[in-house]
């Protein structure tokens, strides 16, 4: 089956391997661009959030490339992402696209429908093939996040402006083409040496800012207007608090086994939030407290316009900032976010943090 799927940052590299392991042909839509968003927005209700519009745009572009089915994740609340697949299925149907819509979620109610989907996904493949595909995909997911983190550390220290981004792109292409776990490991070790060569001798410690917020807008460079890159060029080392590999481990493997616990997050957010509020709201608060304790210089909070849990978090973050003495910048993104205004706000924030760090003599 030719399967397309929505983008999330560079995760397509891992998803492609997984689908091949399942014996399908992945149809990767073009990397998210202006046109994707415009197309997605055109067919979405105006008030849907940015991730919905972009992923719908990805699906439409994937279908244009000849995909026969669409893969999407689902869930049972309270985050509305769990229902996006269903709405996108209806919208595609209304557009007259004849595709099979496969939603990956924990079954509830009508089991036979899920069984049919599961059989279609896994039916045609041998177990060995599936296992090697899954382990390759997992290795790639971990590797690509490691590469991205190396790039984040290198960018504020690079000798030649822009060299890091180019090198990362090259290594990601290598990673995409890799066919065995062995190859993935080789790429990773070459790259970690390569990134080191791009760095200049360190003069001042760069500022370190943590990024928290809603997972999609944090992970997807198109939707956050390449936030991490922009901060890097402003001389900031970005510290990630969200990792897709971690998310998969926690929410799919550990949750299935009943091992996942929110207790550590809840302890960090004590006094601000009493527990889970949907989406990444609890994480945003807990991670901000954690970053403050780790003595980072500031926090950037990214959220899509109208994301309910993050709006609650946004209402609470000023108090975290006051209590822990850490500057916080909340950035709301939607399809109208202008690059100029965005850049100005980042520059002002970085200047402010820089001056504050100088004053505190850190």
């Amino acid at each position: 089956m030719r399967i397309t799927f929505p983008h999330l940052g560079n995760a397509y590299i891992a998803v492609e391997s997984l689908l091949r392991g399942l014996g399908h042909e992945p149809v990767t839509p073009p990397l998210t661009n202006r046109q994707t968003l415009e197309r997605g927005s055109f067919h979405s209700p105006a008030e849907m959030c940015l991730p919905f519009k972009i992923s719908l745009g990805n699906m439409l572009e994937g279908i244009d490339l000849g995909a026969e089915s669409v893969l999407m994740i689902g869930g049972w609340g309270p985050c509305r992402l769990g229902y996006y697949g269903e709405i996108q299925r209806l919208l595609l149907e209304a557009l007259g696209k004849e595709v099979e819509f496969i939603t990956l979620e924990v079954p509830r109610g009508n089991y036979s429908r899920y069984m049919v989907h599961l059989q279609k996904l896994t039916g045609s493949t041998k177990f060995d093939h599936l296992r090697s595909g899954a382990s390759l995909s997992w290795a790639k997911l971990n590797a690509l996040e490691e590469l991205e983190i190396l790039a984040l550390q290198t960018r504020p220290r690079e000798k030649k402006r822009g060299a890091t981004t180019g090198y990362l792109q090259y290594q990601l292409e290598q990673l995409r083409a890799a066919e065995t776990v062995q190859e993935v490991e080789e790429i990773l070790s070459t790259a970690s040496r390569g990134f080191l060569r791009l760095r200049a001798r360190e003069q001042n410690r760069p500022l370190r800012l943590g990024v928290v917020g809603e997972i999609y807008t944090v992970m997807d460079p198109f939707s956050n207007l390449r936030l991490e890159e922009r901060l890097g060029y402003l001389g900031v080392e970005v510290v990630r608090t969200i990792s897709l590999a971690e998310w998969v481990k926690n929410h799919i493997f550990k949750k299935a086994l009943g091992l996942y616990s929110l207790a550590p997050l809840r302890r960090l957010a004590a006094g601000y939030l009493r527990g889970f509020i949907g989406g990444h709201g609890l994480e945003s608060i807990a991670r901000s407290v954690d970053l403050a304790r780790k003595n980072l210089d500031g926090v950037v909070h990214v959220l899509p316009l109208s994301c309910m849990p993050e709006i609650v978090a946004r209402g609470i973050l000023p108090r975290v900032s006051r209590d822990h003495g850490i500057p916080v910048l909340s950035l709301m993104v939607d399809e109208h976010t202008g690059e100029g205004g965005f850049q100005t706000r980042l520059e002002a924030f970085v200047d402010m943090v820089q001056r504050r760090v100088g004053r505190l003599g850190k």
Partner: protein, 278 residues
């Protein structure tokens, strides 16, 4: 329970202003109004403020995500002298859990017997509200309209620009989705490919399935920038497109004008009437 109870009046200009000036931007209109009510009450001078954390009221479903974080959000807008009383109402594992949370919350302030009595009185009062006849308006033009949307909008005449009153004045029989008990909306929503996991959306769509062939039109009422309601809009549009039922979507925020509302309602009713006459 022996408390002196202070309640805020129905939402008005003053209360909404209090909310608008304080509440984090990006929040929806009902949330801003809620913060307004909280600030209004705090100004009255009180020691305890009751803001339950309504996680879920029907097994297997959630309320709106905003309600999950409501007590923590409200905490930002009250002085430290006011204590927040917020039992977690979580029916995901069974509806009985809600009664349990209330009773446990009460035990802090009174003896078990007193709490139990208070709980029974409260339940009797709630039943009276639930069973009161809810359809209103007049049958002058013989039009029937179903109103979909969360109760904190459909029941708040100030926030929805007195939608019910205006429709009644136009001679229309109005029924809100909230008028249908879960015993009707739950089975009705089973025909959907995927049952929505938010109670308000499931109720609205269940009510729609139930009344689809009995009403002339459907009005869905939503706060501006509410994604759950936007999704509901897609589903309602998909459902009504295949029938004779007309659909009007109304989004409200603090800038909505009552005059614009009247025009749209008049136009909608005229359309329904013409459609009915053929």
């Amino acid at each position: 329970m022996g408390f002196e109870v202070i309640t805020s009046p129905p939402t008005n200009q003053e209360i909404l202003e209090l909310g608008l000036t304080a509440c984090v931007d990006g929040a929806c209109l009902p949330l801003k109004a809620f913060v307004g009510h909280v600030r209004f009450l705090v100004n009255r001078g009180l020691e305890l403020l009751f803001v339950p954390q309504a996680i879920s009221v029907v097994p297997g479903e959630y309320t709106c995500t905003n309600l999950l974080g409501l007590p923590d959000l409200v905490q930002q807008y009250i002085p430290s002298s006011v204590r927040l009383l917020s039992p977690a109402l979580d029916a995901r594992k069974g509806a009985g859990k809600i009664s349990f949370s209330y009773l446990r919350c009460g035990l802090e302030f009174a003896s078990a017997l007193r709490v139990l009595k208070a709980w029974q009185t409260a339940q009797a009062a709630q039943r009276q509200v639930d069973t009161a006849p809810k359809a209103n308006g007049s049958t002058g033009r013989g039009l029937n309209i179903l109103i979909l949307g969360p109760r904190y909008l459909t029941d708040d005449a100030y926030l929805n620009g007195d939608l019910m009153g205006k429709l009644a004045a136009l001679g229309v029989q109005v029924t809100a989705a909230a008028a249908f008990p879960d015993s009707i909306t739950l089975p009705a929503s089973r025909s959907l490919a995927k049952r929505p996991f938010w109670t308000s959306m499931r109720r609205s769509l269940g009510a729609l399935e139930h009344c689809l062939h009995r009403v002339d039109g459907v009005i869905s009422l939503a706060p501006f920038a509410c994604v759950a309601e936007a999704m509901q809009g897609v589903m309602v549009a998909e459902r009504t497109a295949k029938t004779e039922c007309a659909h009007l979507e109304l989004h409200v925020d603090e800038h909505s004008s009552p005059v614009g509302l009247v025009t749209r309602l008049e136009a909608f009713c005229d359309l329904l009437e013409r459609k009915r006459r053929g």
